[in-house]
Amino acid sequence: MSEKNKKVRVFAAIDVGSFEMGLKIFEISQKNGIKCINSVKHRLALGNDSYVRKKISYEKMEELFNTVNKFKEIMREYEVSDYKAYGTSALRETENTAIILEQIRSRTGIEVEVLSNSEQRFLDYKAIAAKGKLFDKIIEKSTAIVDIGGGSIQISLFDKDRLVQTQALKLGVLRLHERMQEIRPRSTQTEELLDEMIGSQIRTFHKVFLKDRDVKNLIIMDEYLSPRFHQIVDGVSAEGSISAAGFMSFADGLLTRRDEEIENAMELPEEKIALFRLSTAIIKRVAENFEVDTIWATGAELCDGIAYEYAEKKKLTKIAHDFEDDILDSAQMVAKRYQSSTKHAEAVEKAALSIFDGMKSVHGMGRRERLLLRLAAILQDCGKFINMTNVGECSFAIIANTEIIGLSHNERIIVASVVKYNHGPFEYYPGMSGRIGVDRRSYLTIAKLTAILQLANALDKGKGEKIKKVDAALEKDELRIYVDAKKDILYEQERFDKRSGFFEEVYGVHPKLYRMKNK
């Protein structure tokens, strides 16, 4: 490679999916943005094994290794400088995920990470949002995204441009296909069966989350229909949209056709037809139930999201959309659902961030941990909705079991733990790791964030928002926290002093409260 080309970064994204393995090679540059230059897919239905047997067969593992090695050849061909390889639900649902990942590493040299459902969906969502202006235009009106995977589907709701809800439903096409094959319905029973399998869950989602929300746009993301929306569906606009009526007419026509007819008309490979049909059936039911006006397909895939995330991290591209806001919005929606105190949460968040920023030179944590701290502050008393005397445990249970798009399972456990230990005694590593399985690094993050959140929480213990402003500055071994409070803060001072012990234990820094006039 000649010197002149260093402005362009070549990146590879690998998706070890439940139906197919995919590799995309991207060129990323400030000038041209993210450009896919090669894309290959290899059909390997890992999900067929893992969903049913919870293990992946030896033959499929061998095929997986061979495919990854072939992917490596292509990566070498393009002189790829960085890569990211992710496994999704098929790897997630095996019993021996860690062993599989280690085998892949030792046989191919490629490190594969397994995405939690919410991480995967977040990347999918990033892939869509990376479309930039088009995405912004779509979400101007209330919008839903239905992201159809092999194991599950994810429905996310936007209100104006805010992500307000996201929920996974175990309705992935491979999963449904497996079930259909077990049941073997007659052709006349298929529609009814699909309605029972899909429709009932969609209706429940509607009842719980959609309520009377008016959804205008539906963005679809799947491996079968959306990448070839233009070719297959008549009347799709240049931007990739079609009216709901137009789509229904297509879907109804398709769902009554025989496989051979679909194969000929759509030029689809035979093995994909059943999944294509199921994907269309899901979209149809969501669109009908939500009564959307327009259906959009951007053709984005997980690999596009992986590339976007990489470019974003490396600051190689302009940010198309503020995804951190989506995560915060999502957390706020959870807080709202459990009737958390918004003002108290805001006060705690503000104080926590001041302390976090003031301790920057000591704690060694970054932007991501700062986000986790904000989430913990937002969700810090959601458990009260269940039981006011056991807020910590109840909050933990809620957070650990609630989809927050963009967070990994581990991050969710960190947030949940920080909230829990904010309310109760801290548990040291042996006990904590034995109970919730966190590693040492996560344990330390929990400890550090808990120490900060406890202090911040103490500053608004009376929930009277007495403190208007908080500044924190490190002076030798002392963290000086300056607060601007017009009212008496005796109660807060007492709680602060009580919590400062743990803070000191964690950081080796003594926190001290100063009123602004003392500064």
Binding site: S2, K7, S29, S39, Y78, E79, P227, P269
Partner: protein, 744 residues
């Protein structure tokens, strides 16, 4: 309306024979230089050999297997054979009538091709005998036949001499290792007289075979006995004259050359063939020993000798060709190649330079300036070789991917690919091992490339990879850029001088993306979800062609402008033909240039009245595939590696690619129009399936191939490339010629 009726189609084999008749008509055309006519005659012979080995063999297989399915014209295999046998015999008779005329004419211009060794002068005979002893005798292996030595396996296409031998009295044959009396069983059918002595003698006759060595030249030049005249004799005549020297204790009763043709149809059980390479090698060996489907003998061969051959080779009736002249006329190509006689040959044409790619330029930069169309053999194939060579040494090139179907004996492309791999480039080459009759050659290249470090893909199970595509991935300042060469003809620098083909260089991103997807697919990855610009067989191409034809039909029905002009080697896909019939019925004017097989019938009332079919058989083999669709005055122009045949559209990986550049589009359309204007080499298909060549008066003759030679020369001379369409050049004479149907 049903456009698929049997009576709307011509049997494809009969149509192929018509093509060979058109080649023969060139050999018979007195307006063509004599030696060019000899060459055409030779080509008809090799064409017929292949036809027999592949097509007739296949029909015979079907008959043996009791296969009842009918062909495009509704004929069963036995019905087809019944149609073809008389036509082939008639054709062979025409060939030899032509040969005898040409031999006389050649003698008249100083090339005496001696028919028999009896015609040798004493001096020539001495020369021949010495030649035999020095060169031929040491490599001959006479094979005797008796009860302990079975009838030898005679190689496919080999020329042999069969002899009946009578034992000389008082000699001990076994001492010489020569056969005992040929078995009574074999001779029992021989017509013998009542004369006891004669019967005794005949019973003592032995049968032996001598293979004419294929390693020695088929023709031998003799000392001239007349100034200014060359004399040649065929090797089998030299052997026949000296055959008694092989059987010292025998009297040679009679000796006669014969030649056999075997079933060579490849039928690989690919699903079971774990190693395709090994399977192909096995098949090649097997091909030597397939069923005999033709026995050629000289007319007047001894009846007893013929009976033995018939019995042992298990051939009967229609499979036996008694030839009035020398067997295997392919030796005429050697005669053509002899020095001298230039006034009886066409002047050689050196393909012209391509001005868009000047000598010494950076070919990648040239391509970046715009798409470049090459028209071979009028324009040089050198840029294609340079493309691969440049890629091999360019430090910014990351990868080269190429398909190879048939390559030349010492292919510079193969060398460049090997060099690229040695230089550390990622080189992926799909070598199609199943390219009929080139399998052995391709295995050698494949191994050589693999050794050099290329990633070699040995074809695809169940499909032949016939597309011609080369992709160069290059890293440039703005990122990856893909350079693609797509062609209608093979990456073969030798045939590129003889076959008319199109090639297109482009670095258009949509084509580059598709090219990448083609190689991903050939490497075993899933097919792409959609294509930008290419249409690829076997999954998408046929549908695309049918859609394009249908669009013209709809345009015609709606009163919009419409029309189809297409050029290909063969047209025999029933669905495409039916679509053309429908288009014709709707009023679409259709002009087709089909060099070889055409199963479409013209002039069927209300079905094909708007279709004209022509065939050009000229100095160069018409090989390019080009399709023009009027599209309501917004023409779409495509080039392709595929003919409109089921095998191309359904069982091969083929590519049809659009010509998007406005100038190049115009150029292809103009080339096609000029081909339709030809009135020298163009034959027109008639409703009775015959082809008619209506020669124009001398002063208005227009030969498109000659014109293209001239145009290319003028174009190469132009210092700056004209960007204007519609440019025309003045015709000059054509040069090299060749027509041959063994290419696909």
């Amino acid at each position: 309306m049903d456009y698929h009726k049997d009576e709307y189609f011509t049997n494809r084999e009969r149509s192929w024979l018509r093509f060979n008749e058109r080649c023969l008509s060139e050999a018979r055309d007195e307006s063509i230089p004599l030696f060019e006519r000899l060459k055409f005659l030779s080509i008809t012979a090799s064409n017929l050999d292949e036809f027999l080995m592949v097509r007739i063999a296949s029909l015979k297989d079907m008959v043996h297997a009791g296969y009842k399915k009918t062909d495009i014209a509704g004929m069963k295999a036995d019905e087809q054979l019944a149609l073809l046998y008389p036509a082939m015999h008639e054709f062979v008779a025409m060939q030899y009538e032509c040969y005898n005329n040409l031999a006389d004419a050649a003698c008249g211009v100083g090339m005496a091709m001696l028919e028999h060794h009896e015609e040798l002068t004493t001096k020539q005979a001495e020369f021949v005998d010495r030649y035999f002893e020095d060169n031929v005798y040491p490599v001959l292996t006479p094979m005797a036949v008796d009860s302990s030595r079975p009838f030898p396996l005679i190689k496919n296409k080999s020329l042999n001499i069969g002899a009946l031998l009578a034992r000389k009295e008082g000699t001990g044959l076994e001492a010489y290792g020569i056969a005992k009396s040929y078995s009574k069983a074999i001779l029992s059918g021989v017509d013998v007289t009542d004369d006891v002595e004669k019967k005794k003698k005949k019973k003592q006759m032995d049968f032996a075979i001598v293979q004419v060595p294929s390693g020695l030249p088929r023709i031998v030049e003799l000392p001239a006995n007349k100034e200014g005249c060359k004399y040649i004799i065929r090797l089998e005549e030299i052997i026949e004259r000296n055959i008694s020297k092989l059987f010292l204790n025998y009297t040679v009763v009679c000796a006669s050359p014969f030649r056999i043709m075997r079933n060579a149809d490849l039928d690989i059980e690919e699903e079971e063939a774990e190693d395709l390479l090994m399977e192909i090698e096995k098949q090649i060996k097997r091909r030597q020993w397939g069923e005999v489907i033709r026995l050629e003998t000289e007319k007047g061969i001894d009846k007893k000798l013929l009976d033995i051959l018939k019995k042992e080779l298990r051939v009967t009736g229609d499979d036996i060709y008694e030839i009035e002249g020398p067997l295997d006329l392919t030796f005429l190509m050697k005669v053509y190649g002899m020095e001298g006689f230039d006034e009886f040959k066409n002047k050689g044409n050196t393909p012209s330079d391509v001005p868009e790619i000047p000598a010494g330029s950076d070919i990648f930069e040239d391509i970046r300036k715009g798409d470049i169309l090459l028209h071979h053999p009028y324009q040089s194939f050198e840029p294609v070789v340079r493309f691969v060579r440049s890629a091999a040494v360019d430090p910014d090139v990351l990868a080269i991917k190429q398909t190879l179907y048939r390559v030349s004996g010492n292919s510079p492309i193969v060398k460049a690919l090997a060099q690229a791999a040695e230089n550390g480039k990622q080189v992926t080459v799909l070598v199609e091992l199943k390219a009929r009759f080139d399998e052995e050659n391709n295995i050698v290249w494949a191994r050589m490339l693999e050794k050099a470090g290329c990633h070699v893909i040995y074809g695809l199970v169940g499909l032949k990879t016939h597309c011609k595509i080369c992709l160069v991935v290059r890293r440039e300042e703005d990122g990856i850029r893909r350079y693609v060469h797509l062609a209608t003809g093979n990456y073969n620098d030798s045939t590129a001088k003889l076959y008319t083909d199109f090639g297109l260089f482009t670095c258009a991103e949509p084509v580059g993306e598709d090219a990448t997807a083609v190689f991903n697919m050939l490497s075993g990855y899933s097919e792409p979800l959609s294509w930008n610009r290419l249409a690829v067989a076997p999954l998408w191409l046929k549908k695309r062609i049918l859609k394009l034809i249908k669009r013209e039909t709809e345009n015609a029905r709606a009163g919009r402008s419409c029309g189809i002009k297409a050029k290909m080697n063969s047209l025999c896909d029933p669905d495409v033909i039916a679509a053309l019939y429908e288009a014709s019925s709707a009023g679409v004017p259709i002009k087709l240039l089909v060099r070889g097989i055409c199963c479409l019938k013209v002039g069927i009332p209300e079905v094909s009245e708007n279709i004209k079919v022509y065939s050009i058989v000229g100095d160069y083999l018409e090989h390019g595939r080009a399709f023009v669709f009027d599209n309501d005055c917004d023409p779409e122009v495509y080039l392709a590696s595929a003919d409109w045949m089921p095998r191309n559209l359904e069982r091969r990986v083929e590519i049809m690619f659009p010509v998007d550049d406005h100038r190049l589009k115009e150029r292809v359309m103009r080339i096609l129009d000029e081909q339709f204007e030809d009135n020298v080499k163009k034959h027109e298909l008639m409703p009775d399936d015959r082809y008619v060549k209506a020669l124009a008066p001398e002063d208005s003759r227009y030969c498109c191939q000659m014109d293209f030679v001239k145009q290319a020369k003028e174009y190469a001379k132009s210092s700056s490339v004209s960007k204007t369409a519609g440019r025309r050049f003045i015709p000059i004479e054509s040069s090299e010629r060749k027509a041959n149907d063994n290419e696909e």
